[in-house]
Each structure stands twice: as structure tokens, then as C-alpha cells.
Amino acid sequence: MVLLCGIPSESPLAMVAAQLRRLGVPHVFFNQRHVARTDMWFTVSRGHVTGRLNLDGRTYRLEDFRGVYTRLMDDRALPEMRDEPEDSEKSRHSHALHDTLMQWCEVTPARVVNRTAPMGSNSSKPYQAQLIRKHGFSIPETLITNDPELVRQFLSRHQQLIYKSISGIRSIVETLDESALARLGHIRWCPTQFQEYIPGKNLRVHTIDSRVFATAVVSNVTDYRYAHLQKGGETELSATELSEQLVQRCLRLSQGLGLSFAGIDLKVTPDERVYCLEVNPSPAFSYYESNTGQPIAEAVARFLSGHWV
């Protein structure tokens, strides 16, 4: 049995559910929109974890779940919870339910894609960059500072810089242009991250257990994820193959970060040097699969089912 956590219509969750159905793997949804009709408890006794999950009137033994796929959103932002006071019965139940689920995910012997603790590396990009470097990838020269003069010196050394958030909060990667330079004094309020611009081909590599799917990305904007928001912005995705050496390096990186499923962002320079920009621990792979036909959802479904069906 596989447990799918989140909102069933969300693309990655829906695509994995479709593959589980196709493969005949039993699965149920922990549907966040149904928190009012969901209950859960578990016990840790002598290192063994057992418990029950009640979903819409049906009860499941937690120990029967062999795979868990979590695509949870902040429960406070759920449409059902948006207008609820923080201390209402409904809010308290929702928070307790999500907290119980997250605690269980950390201790269950099931295959969890992905557990909370290893997903945390993405909460600090420079912290994650240090882990990435230990796994043999090049990382861009980076400066985090609250001193505008140091940024100007860094710019004169690298000619072209980008800036982006330090944390896991999504931000659009921007080039440090004249208009941004004019606002450089603002960084005195908070250290800000600047990086040398790395020219070359963008690659998104999804790893799931021992399988690897590489997608080449060609775009005319700095941050291809937001090409559709920019005038004239275009992005093309295509499936591609990696060398065996690079495949193994990507797998070692995911494994080293404790991630069964990861989206690795690489940049390959014209002289074939491979930079790793970031590892996404909860990749929205549907964008890549829809554009390339790569069977990523099927690989996730097969992994969750506990064996390569």
C-alpha cells in the first residue's frame, strides 16, 4: 500500500497516482482538503512504529504503508483553513494532524519520498552548496555580504553576476544589471547572495533511487522556470543522456543528501566543466515529464511500491 499526501489534483501527485493505478499498486490519498474527516495516531514502542490512519471513514494500519509520497502544502493556506482563527478547533486539529503525519514520516520504516530532515538542505542554498562541493561538483563562486563595495569588487572580477535568495523561499534569479546596482545600498539591511554567472547548457537531472532522467534546457532568459513571465521568454526541454561518470556522480549526490528523489540543476560550460547549482528535494517533475515524455512518475511509483514492478 502506498500513501500519497497532498492535494490529489496537484500535477506531480496526480501523475504518480495514475502510474500506481496503471501498475495495479494499492494506494490512498491523505487529502489535505479533507483534514476535517481525517485522524491519525501512532506509537513508538521498543523501536517499532505502529498506528492507524482514518480517512473518510476508513481505517488503515500505518505499518501496512510501504511507500509514502509527500507533496504537502502549508495547511494554513488551504482554502478550508484560510478564514479559520488559529485557535479554533478546526485549526488545532489540522495542525495536530499534519504534525503527527510529519513525525511519523521521520520514523516509519516505509520508503518516504522524501523525509523532512534531508529535505532541509535546500533551506539554505550556500549550506547545500558546501554539501554539493563535497560530492565532487563545481559550484559557482559566491559572495554573501552586506557591503556594497565588496559586491562591486566581485563584479569587476567576474564581469557578470546573478543574485538570488539564500533561503529555500523561491525567488527569480536575476542578473545584476544597472538598475539592480542602483539599489545595491539596500543590502546593508540583510546579507545578500551574489554569484558569478556560469555560461553553458542547463541540465535538470531527476534521480529516483538508482534511476536517472536528464533533461536539456535551452532558454533565452536567466531563470528558465519563469520564462513564461518575461516578454519574449522561451524555453525548450528535451531528453538527453549523461556520461556514466556523471550519472554515478548525480546518484552519489542524491544519496549523500539522503534524498530518494531529487531534481539536480546542472550547468555544463563550453569547456565541459559541470557545475551543480542546486538540488531540489521535492521536484515538480511534471513540467519536465510533460515536455519530454520521460517516465519520471512511473519511476517514482515503482520506487514507492517497494520493488521495480
Binding site: G47, W104, A117, I139, T142, L143, I144, T145, I166
Partner: protein, 246 residues
């Protein structure tokens, strides 16, 4: 140089600072969250050759990571004197950026760090009690069953099933690396604490037990931020040895 990094009100860290100084851990800099909140300049550089960080504090001190040999790290939050001035719409973002920045800086400190930060805690990984109970059982420590429930009947709170009787005396064990510090610790408990430290990948831990009159110890909780004073002179010796590689 060695660092003691702590919240301004952390008297246990300040006690440790004086104790480490008395043991010859020098030069030793006490840097509080107030000092860090008022830092004049941060320069944190990462690249393929490594990480180099320099912070200039308002009192004129320059702390360069290239001079650091180790640290006692008890920071809980990323301090900033300017954060309260941020626009309400940007406060949460700025706060998250600072935490992420501090995580990177603290992680990059060279030498032994008690404790090295993790994404789940700047001074070591904070865990739910359910996870500590699970890890403790794996480490071979005696532990009672523990229930977590989202059920209204539990008041939406974990039900602690006699992890400790309310009047049971508490015994605290401090773990520094492989050294166990505390009074009259049974050998099996000491060994379990060492295994717990390894499983939790945390060098400095405070581990609480309930002890019954027959001398039977049961795990009740653990923290990466214990009150170090409970370990007295012995824990200072252990930390000094760990930080200096002695």
C-alpha cells in the same frame, strides 16, 4: 582562535567560556547574539577552493574563519538588529534569509564544532520527542512506549505514556563526543548514550532519564542544548579536550 557563540542570556555558555579559558583554550572569543546582531560587515565567500568568512563586529573585533580552530556553538536564532525595521510584508522573508545565511556560516566553521548546525537547528538538530524515543530504542536505551495523536480526545497533544512517573528523580547525562559525563551512570546506559550520539550525529547532547528507587533508568528526553553547568568541571575538561583535539 576558538569561539563561544551563544544567545546573550545564555549563562551556561558564559560559564563554559570562563571554564574553557581557565583550561588554556586561548585565544577564545565570546560572541553573543547581540554582538552578531550588530555586526558591521559580513563577507561569506564560497567557491571550489572552500569557504572563507569574515565578520566585523561593532566592537571592532574581526573574526576570520581562517583563524578559527573550533567552536562551542549554542546559537538558537539568527540575530539581527535591523530585522524589526523591515516592512511587515518582507519580515518573514528577511528572517528566513538570515537563518539560512547563519546556517551556511556556522556549518563552514573549521575544526571541531559543538554542535555543528543543521537545517533543523543552528546548534544541532532539534527533533520531536517521538524521534528521540525511536532513536533511543535503536541505541539500546530503556524507553517506554510513546504515543502521538491528532485525535481530539488527546487534546491534540502527544500522549506521554509513562515515559517517567511525575515524581521520579531526573538524572542528566551529558555527552561530549564519546565521553559520558554524569554521576553513577550504569555502564549499559553510558554505552547507549554513546550510540545515541552517533545515531543522532550530534557531538554534544544532554540526555535525561527517570531513575526509579531500584536504580532502573528510563530515557525521557534529549537536547542538543543542555545546561552545561550540570556537568561541572568534568564537562569543561571534556569540551576543552574535544575542541583542542586533546
Amino acid at each position: 582562535m576558538w569561539l563561544v557563540l551563544c544567545e546573550t542570556q545564555d549563562v551556561a555558555a558564559q560559564w563554559a567560556y570562563l571554564g574553557l579559558l581557565a583550561r588554556g583554550v586561548e585565544p577564545l572569543e565570546l560572541i553573543t547574539s547581540t554582538n552578531l546582531a550588530q555586526a558591521v560587515c559580513w563577507e561569506h565567500r564560497l567557491g571550489n577552493d572552500g569557504v572563507l568568512t569574515t565578520v566585523t563586529l561593532a566592537d571592532g573585533r574581526h573574526i576570520s574563519s581562517s583563524d578559527v580552530h573550533g567552536a562551542l556553538n549554542r546559537l538558537l536564532t539568527a540575530p539581527s538588529a535591523l530585522l524589526p525595521l523591515a516592512r511587515p510584508s518582507e519580515k518573514a522573508y528577511a528572517s528566513q534569509e538570515l537563518v539560512s545565511f547563519f546556517l551556511s556560516w556556522l556549518y563552514s566553521l573549521p575544526g571541531p564544532v559543538l554542535n555543528r548546525p543543521t537545517p533543523q537547528g543552528l546548534s544541532g538538530q532539534w527533533r520531536h520527542l517521538s524521534e528521540w524515543v525511536w532513536l533511543s530504542a535503536k541505541a539500546g536505551l530503556p524507553v517506554s512506549p510513546y504515543v502521538v495523536s491528532a485525535d481530539a480526545g488527546s487534546g491534540y497533544a502527544p500522549v506521554q505514556m509513562s515515559l517517567a512517573p511525575p515524581d521520579a528523580p531526573v538524572r542528566t547525562v551529558l555527552l561530549v563526543g564519546n565521553q559520558v559525563v554524569g554521576d553513577s551512570i550504569p555502564e549499559a546506559i553510558a554505552e547507549g548514550c554513546r550510540r545515541l550520539g552517533q545515531l543522532a550525529n550530534t557531538a554534544l547532547l544532554g540526555i535525561d532519564f527517570a531513575a526509579n528507587p531500584e536504580g532502573y533508568w528510563t530515557f525521557t528526553s534529549a537536547t542538543p542544548l543542555p545546561d552545561l553547568r550540570q556537568g561541572g568541571e568534568v564537562v569543561l575538561d571534556a569540551m576543552a579536550a574535544k575542541l583542542t583535539g586533546g
